[in-house]
C-alpha cells in the first residue's frame, strides 16, 4: 500500500537526514519506527506526506507516486494520510469540534470551511469519534482547556475523520505520562485494527513499541538498520541501532505482554463493543 523506494533527504550542507530508505507497508499493518534522536524518524514521516520534500527516491501510496505530485494533487493524497503529533498540534483557540472538523478541510472548499459548514455526515462522524476516543460532550470546549491525554485523543479524532488509509504518528506518547501513553497507544492500535488502517508510529520507548506493534523498523543515521518483528529486537540489534548500553531491562521476555495488558483495564475510557 505504501511503498518507499530509495527515499533520501539531503540538506544543503550535504549531510543526509535520510539515505536510501526503502520499505513497503501492507494495508492494515502497524509499524513502529524507532531510532535515536536525529536518526531521521520525523523527517521520514514528513517526507511521506510532503511536509518536507525529499531530495531523491519515491514514496507511493496505492500505486500513486507522491513525490512527483504537483501541489494541487497533493491535497487529495494528504487527506488519505492522517497525522498525529507529539505536541498534539491542536489549534489552541478553536473548539474541540472545530479541531476535529479541520480534518475534513481537504474535502471542502474555502467558503464552507470559513462558515464551519462541513456537512451533516462530517458532524455526525465527529460526534461518533468523540464518543470513540472517550470525550463525549467535549465538542464545545476549547482545545487549550484540555489535558495532554485529552488533547491527543482530539488529535487522533482529527486524523481519523479524514477517513485515511494510513496514519503517520509522530511521537504520540513523548509528552504523556506512562499510563496515558499506554492508553493512547492502545487506542491507536484498536482503531487501526478496526478500520484496517496502516500506521507508521515514531516512538522512543522501545518497550512500549514492542507491546503494541507487529513490525519494527529501526533507523540509524537516516538508514534502515533493522526491519522485522518486535521479538527480533535483541540486545545486539538495539546496540546496532542506538549504540552500546545495558539492554537487559528493555528486551521483551515471554509472558510480559499478558502482564502489562492486565494493568489497568478500567483506565481505558473507551467502551468496547
Amino acid at each position: 500500500m505504501l511503498e518507499l523506494e530509495k527515499l533520501s533527504k539531503a540538506y544543503t550542507s550535504g549531510d543526509y537526514a535520510l539515505k536510501d530508505v526503502s520499505f513497503t507497508i501492507e494495508k492494515g499493518q502497524v509499524v513502529a519506527l524507532i531510532g535515536p534522536s536525529g536518526a531521521g524518524k520525523s523527517t521520514l514521516i514528513r517526507c511521506i506526506n510532503r511536509l518536507v520534500d525529499p531530495t531523491s527516491g519515491t514514496a507511493s501510496l496505492n500505486g500513486k507516486n507522491i513525490t512527483a505530485m504537483p501541489t494541487r494533487k497533493l491535497r487529495q493524497v494528504r487527506r488519505q494520510m492522517g497525522m498525529i503529533f507529539q505536541d498534539y498540534a491542536l489549534v489552541e483557540r478553536l473548539t474541540v469540534m472545530e479541531n476535529i472538523l479541520s480534518g475534513r478541510l481537504g474535502y471542502v472548499g474555502f467558503w464552507r470551511s470559513l462558515f464551519r459548514k462541513f456537512g451533516p455526515e462530517a458532524e455526525n462522524d465527529a460526534f461518533g469519534l468523540l464518543e470513540k476516543v472517550g470525550l463525549p460532550g467535549y465538542e464545545d470546549k476549547r482545545a487549550d482547556a484540555l489535558s495532554g491525554g485529552q488533547r491527543q485523543r482530539v488529535g487522533i479524532a482529527r486524523a481519523l475523520i479524514q477517513n485515511p488509509s494510513l496514519l503517520l504518528v509522530d511521537e504520540p506518547t513523548a509528552s504523556l505520562d506512562p499510563k496515558t501513553a499506554r492508553q493512547v497507544m492502545r487506542l491507536i492500535q484498536d482503531l487501526c485494527h478496526e478500520r484496517n488502517l496502516a500506521a507508521i508510529i515514531n516512538i522512543h520507548d522501545v518497550a512500549l513499541a514492542q507491546q503494541f506493534v507487529e513490525r519494527v523498523i529501526g533507523l540509524k543515521a537516516g538508514q534502515v538498520a533493522y526491519d522485522g518483528p518486535p521479538e527480533g529486537l535483541t540486545p545486539e540489534v538495539l546496540t546496532e541501532i542506538y549504540g552500546e548500553e545495558d539492554w537487559s531491562a528493555t528486551v521483551r521476555k515471554d509472558g510480559d505482554e499478558g502482564a502489562s495488558e492486565a494493568e489497568t483495564p478500567e483506565a481505558y475510557a473507551v467502551e468496547k463493543e
Binding site: 511536509l51 491535497r75 494528504r78 487527506r79 489549534v91 479541520s102 481537504g106 470551511s113 479524514q162 503517520l168
Partner: protein, 267 residues
C-alpha cells in the same frame, strides 16, 4: 602568601567581546550625549518671556470654556471621530492582505519584498507630510485627513500583523497543512485563530492613534478637532483650547478602557 584554598571564580562573559570597542561604547556614548545637549541653543530671555503665557494656558484648564464655541467643538469632534473610525477600518482592510504578504512564513520572496516595501514607504512618510500632500490634492477638510490616516495605518498595522504571523506556532499550522488544506484554508485554520487576539488589540490601538493623530492633522488643514483647536490657539482663546484638550483626553481614556476590556474578552 598565605596558604588559602584557591576558589575557582566565574564572571559573566562580556556582551561586547572586543575590549577597545567596549571602552569606546562606555566613553563615546555619554560624551555624545553631553555634546549634543550642549549644541542646543536655548534663549533664556525668550523662555522667561514665554513663562506667563504658559501659566495662562495652564491656568485656563481650571476654567475650560465648553460653551462659547460649543458648535465648533462638537463639529470638530464629530469630524475627528468619523475620520478616525473610517480611516482605521479602511486602513485595516488594506493592511490584512499586505500583512499576509509581508510574513516570511506565508509568502514567496517576491511578494514578501513588495509588501515590505509598501510598509516601509508608509512608515517613512510621516503623517504630517502626507497630510500636506493630501490637502494640496484634495483641498482642506476631513477627506484629506481620512486618506492620510488610512495610509499611515497600513505601515503600522501590516507590519505588526506580519510580525505576529511570523511568530505563530509551527506545529499548529503544520497540522492543518497535513490535513490537505488549501493555502486559504490553511490561513483560516492554522494562522487566523492564533493571531486573532493580537488583531483585535492592534485595531483598537490604531483607532486610538488615529483619533489622536486627527487632532494634529487639523493644524495643516486636514479637518477634524485639530482645526478647531488650531483656531482656538490662533485667537488666544486658551479656555476653549483647554476644553478641547480635556475632551480629547477623555475620549482617549475611554478608548483605552474599552480596548483593555475587549482584549480580555478576546483571548
Amino acid at each position: 602568601m598565605t596558604d588559602t584554598v584557591q576558589l575557582k571564580r566565574w564572571r559573566r562573559p562580556p556582551m561586547i567581546k572586543r575590549t577597545w570597542l567596549r571602552a569606546l561604547v562606555w566613553v563615546g556614548v555619554p560624551l555624545y550625549v553631553v555634546l549634543s545637549l550642549g549644541s542646543m541653543e536655548v534663549n533664556w530671555a525668550r523662555v522667561i518671556d514665554g513663562l506667563p503665557r504658559a501659566k495662562e494656558f495652564i491656568l485656563s484648564f481650571s476654567s475650560p470654556d465648553f460653551t462659547t464655541r460649543w458648535n465648533d467643538i462638537y463639529e470638530g469632534i464629530y469630524e475627528s471621530l468619523v475620520m478616525a473610525f473610517a480611516s482605521t477600518v479602511v486602513g485595516i482592510l488594506i493592511s490584512v492582505p499586505i500583512g499576509l504578504g509581508a510574513a516570511k512564513n506565508l509568502a514567496p520572496t517576491p511578494v514578501y519584498l513588495v509588501c515590505r516595501g509598501i510598509i516601509a514607504l508608509s512608515r517613512a512618510l510621516q503623517e504630517i507630510i502626507v497630510a500636506i500632500l493630501m490637502v494640496a490634492i484634495f483641498g482642506f477638510g476631513p477627506f484629506a485627513g481620512f486618506l492620510t490616516l488610512a495610509f499611515a495605518t497600513i505601515g503600522f498595522f501590516a507590519k505588526l500583523l506580519a510580525e505576529r504571523i511570523e511568530d505563530v506556532s509551527k506545529s499548529q499550522s503544520e497540522a492543518i497543512r497535513a490535513t490537505g488544506a488549501s493555502w486559504s484554508q490553511w490561513v483560516l485554520y492554522g494562522i487566523h485563530p492564533q493571531v486573532f487576539p493580537r488583531f483585535i488589540g492592534l485595531s483598537m490601538y490604531r483607532l486610538d492613534i488615529n483619533f489622536r493623530e486627527s487632532a494634529v492633522l487639523g493644524i495643516v488643514g486636514a479637518g477634524g478637532i485639530g482645526a478647531t483647536l488650531n483656531t482656538a490657539f490662533d485667537r488666544y482663546e486658551f479656555d476653549t483650547a483647554a476644553a478641547i484638550i480635556l475632551i480629547i483626553i477623555a475620549l482617549v481614556l475611554m478608548a483605552e478602557y474599552t480596548s483593555s476590556w475587549l482584549r480580555v474578552k478576546v483571548q
